[in-house]
């Protein structure tokens, strides 16, 4: 059966990382997965600090829109993924909240029944499509001298009981997906740590310090490329990492896979 998802690109991708969007659409198309664009709004992640209710409502409206088309949501952003998962969890476990949200949604003829499933780009590739099937499309395997550090992204990994992404302490999903492109992966201790983006506007020096620690670890562990699977992580590397990266490129997994499929984006 052909796979079909409602595509949730997230707010930041068009403005700050359009290549990720382009590459994601390219690899999904190559893997014969249909991505449907929908009138989604913000996932609710940025407002969560300020107002949890607004965050949950914002997410719930997206669920209602996807459910109306009977499609699951796939997002390439781990912060969108994490917040959508978290909101879905809250809505499922709190009937009063769900009722309140639905009262508001009703005004525009929407209803959230919490039947939607939230998927991240990596879980779609790894679980729904399957590593074998992804591998079949790889026509230009990457060189094995390419040592790639997989930068996981917090909000997909944790809290694991809600996100169900992978083992939060010893995740493998990202490395497995990189290996099928022909490149090597390296182990680095800070691979599951925070990139620092969430506090980049609040406390720039601290945000940079977090990123610096991460990048130094990757370099010391012999990486010659860092791979992300989150719009925010990539923005953080691009905007704050220049001084620390020492020429090491940082690209998204969609771009990496695209390259292995013969398309440079």
């Amino acid at each position: 059966m052909q796979l079909k998802y409602s595509y949730f690109p997230g707010c930041k991708i068009t403005g700050q990382f359009p290549k990720y969007d382009e590459a994601t659409r390219f690899v999904m198309n190559a893997l014969k997965v249909t991505l449907v664009d929908m009138p989604f709004n913000c996932c609710g992640y940025p407002i969560r600090h300020q107002n949890m209710e607004a965050s949950v409502f914002s997410a719930a409206r997206n669920f209602a829109i996807a459910e109306r088309e009977h499609l699951d949501i796939m997002t390439p952003c781990k912060c969108c993924f994490g917040n959508l998962k978290h909101s879905l969890h809250l809505l499922k476990s709190d009937k009063t909240l769900l009722k309140h949200v639905n009262n508001l949604l009703q005004k525009e003829g929407l209803i959230c029944s919490c039947t939607v499933e939230i998927k991240h780009l990596l879980t779609v590739l790894s679980h729904d499509i399957g590593l074998k099937n992804v591998k079949k499309q790889i026509t230009h395997p990457l060189s094995s001298t390419q040592k790639i550090a997989a930068s996981y992204g917090c909000h997909a990994l944790r809290p694991a009981d809600i996100t169900n992404f992978d083992n939060p302490f010893e995740p493998t999903i990202f490395e497995d997906l990189i290996k099928i492109t022909g490149a090597q992966t390296i182990f680095w201790t800070k691979r599951t740590e925070c990139c620092g983006h969430p506090i980049s506007e609040k406390n720039e020096s601290l945000s940079k310090a977090l990123l610096k620690a991460k990048i130094s670890d990757a370099i010391q562990s012999d990486a010659n490329l860092i791979c992300t699977a989150c719009t925010y992580c990539q923005i953080q590397y691009d905007e704050m990492g220049k001084d620390y990266l020492d020429g090491i490129p940082v690209i998204s997994y969609s771009q990496l896979l695209g390259k292995a499929m013969g398309k440079n984006i």
């Binding site: 707010c11 709004n41 913000c42 209710e53 020096s205 310090a209």
Partner: protein, 558 residues
């Protein structure tokens, strides 16, 4: 009387126009622009107008004016229904203006045999009129029934629709009552009838009563075939060259039929003269209002298209940039297309600050440029901070206003004016000072309204921390704790210490701590906690609470 009314409204219109244009150099969106000489800005405005007229830019300008201004191709692509509505109103009205209102100057000159009561003019006038009314109906329906347009629509939007609609409806009624008017018939008779033979006149009356629906107070015999024949020949000699059958005015004619039972009463009131007065006055009000209301967009929006299209303006010297950004603010038609696609619009439904919505926020930006009151600016700042820069508003704006640029400029401008986002405000006091401020705030709130007490969920439940054994695993795995030490400014409290404050029930002291506000929400603590305490979730809740406190703070207290 009507003549003077026109002069007055025209003078108001011209002065209004000058007033609005002067505002383009008087106000500034940002402080950098404010420092520029006003004289230089005025000269730049004039120079740029001149440069665009004489250079090759003129071609681009003409193309943009026709393509975006007159045909509005951009709206057609993104919003076909709105395009139909807007085009109907715009073209219906413009054609009526040119060939009906200004017929003495344009129609007469274009069509050698023009008479307002001849076909096709009589027919087309009704077509254009009904076109405008249909457009207004669609626009009104959208504003009343669609969720977002309904929320944002203001008096101004309805007044504009109402005024245009009234001009058209009064025109239809005027035409209807002129059709049945005996006075109208008599005055035409004295102006154009050469013969004063009684018999011919009564024949013509009979003919016009039958064929042209004029309602005479005195009974007219319309069954005498001989009389009608004579009437017809008089009609052909004196009237036919200027009068097509009234049925061609398909709206007005049918309206006249509706009123025919009370026609003699209406005629005795000289209702046609009254409506003529109303119709003219409404047009004059409309003219005088253009520079002061949303209808000013007929000037500012095309101008904004031209500014955007100009390759000269893209040279972007600060002076023309300052002018361009204030013109852009004026180009908003308050159509709401931006708010309909705004990614954070649903958040407004919970928070209830309309300045989250781009269509409202741009008005706040304009108020800021004019030097608005701090209370408005504070609301503006809070709304603007919610924006996620998805840029959908800019992409969807039919007026091509660079909205995202305005939001970003406003953000830094608001900070210059001392309006900081909560994450900056929180640094203005220590956690201890905040706790004192907020405790007094809560006490005051309790006095006035008990429901104002800020609610919280997991952090107020002692069971949440009951299992905490202060093992400090959370602190050991926290990347913020280690990174802050590495740059030589260790965080004030560790996660474990914050948990301890909560455990012993002094939550107020925890709300403003650096730990809570610098948390990256990476959930390392929560994932590693051997006792499964939802540490990161509690931090979220504490920030929610502190944010509420900050937003409840009155202006000036910060």
């Amino acid at each position: 009387m009507l003549k003077y009314s026109f002069y007055i409204s025209f003078v108001i219109f011209i002065f209004g126009l000058i007033y609005r244009i002067l505002q383009w150099i008087r106000f500034d969106l940002d402080t950098t622009s404010a420092g520029l000489s006003k004289i230089k800005r005025l000269i730049a405005l004039w120079e740029s107008l001149w440069n665009h007229l004489i250079s090759a830019q003129a071609l681009i300008m003409i193309k943009t004016f026709v393509w975006d201004g007159l045909l509005q191709v951009k709206i057609l692509k993104s919003r076909p229904l709105q395009w139909i509505a807007h085009m109907s109103i715009f073209w219906g009205f413009v054609l009526l203006l040119l060939f009906h209102a200004l017929d003495d100057h344009i129609s007469v000159w274009v069509f050698s045999d023009y008479a307002s009561t001849l076909n096709p003019f009589i027919f087309l006038r009704n077509v254009f009129g009904i076109l405008v009314l249909m457009g207004i109906f669609v626009a009104f329906y959208r504003r009343r029934n669609n969720l977002i347009p309904k929320r944002i629509s203001q008096k101004m939007d309805y007044v504009a629709l109402l005024l245009i609609g009234s001009i058209i409806i009064s025109g239809f009624l005027l035409e209807a009552f002129q059709i049945i008017s005996e006075n109208q018939f008599d005055s035409m008779l004295s102006d154009y009838m050469i013969s004063d033979d009684e018999k011919e006149i009564s024949a013509l009356r009979a003919y016009w009563a039958k064929k042209y629906s004029v309602k005479f107070a005195q009974e007219v015999n319309t069954n005498d075939i001989e009389l009608l024949k004579l009437g017809e020949s008089v009609h052909i000699d004196s009237c036919a060259s200027c009068h097509s059958p009234p049925q061609y005015a398909f709206i007005s004619y049918n309206l006249a039929q509706i009123f025919s039972p009370i026609s003699s009463f209406l005629n005795s009131l000289q209702i046609d003269a009254v409506l003529l007065f109303i119709h003219y006055i409404l047009c004059f009000i409309g003219l005088a209002w253009i520079p002061f209301g949303k209808m000013f967009h007929i000037v500012s929006t095309p101008l904004n298209y031209l500014v955007n299209a100009s390759t000269l303006e893209q040279s972007k010297n600060p002076i023309s940039k300052a002018n361009a950004s204030i013109i852009a603010l004026d180009a908003c038609t308050h159509c709401g297309a931006c708010s309909e696609v705004c990614a954070v619009e649903p958040i407004n439904r919970i928070i209830g600050n309309d300045f989250i919505l781009p269509s409202e926020k741009i008005q706040a930006a304009r108020l800021m440029a004019e030097g608005a009151h701090p209370v408005i600016l504070e609301k503006f700042s809070q709304g603007n901070n919610v924006c996620t820069s998805c840029n959908k508003c800019t992409q969807n704006c039919p007026s091509q206003i660079p909205l995202l640029g305005i939001w970003q400029k406003s953000k830094s401008e608001l900070q210059i004016k001392g309006l900081y986002p909560p994450e900056k405000i929180i640094n203005q006091h220590t956690a201890y000072e905040w706790s004192g401020l907020w405790n007094s705030q809560e006490k005051a709130a309790k006095k006035t309204d008990k429901s104002q007490k800020l609610k919280s969920f997991i952090s107020d439940n002692p069971e949440t921390y009951e299992a905490c054994v202060q093992c400090s695993v959370c602190t050991q795995v926290c990347p913020v704790v280690s990174a802050s030490s590495s740059i030589g400014s260790p965080i004030d409290l560790t996660p474990q210490q914050v948990m301890n404050l909560l455990r012993i029930g002094i939550k107020d002291k925890a709300l403003g701590t650096q730990m809570v506000w610098n948390c990256t929400t990476c959930y390392m603590c929560q994932e590693h906690c051997p006792q499964h305490i939802p540490i990161a979730d509690v931090f979220y809740e504490l920030r929610n609470l502190a944010n509420k406190h900050i937003s409840l703070q009155k202006t000036g207290e910060k």
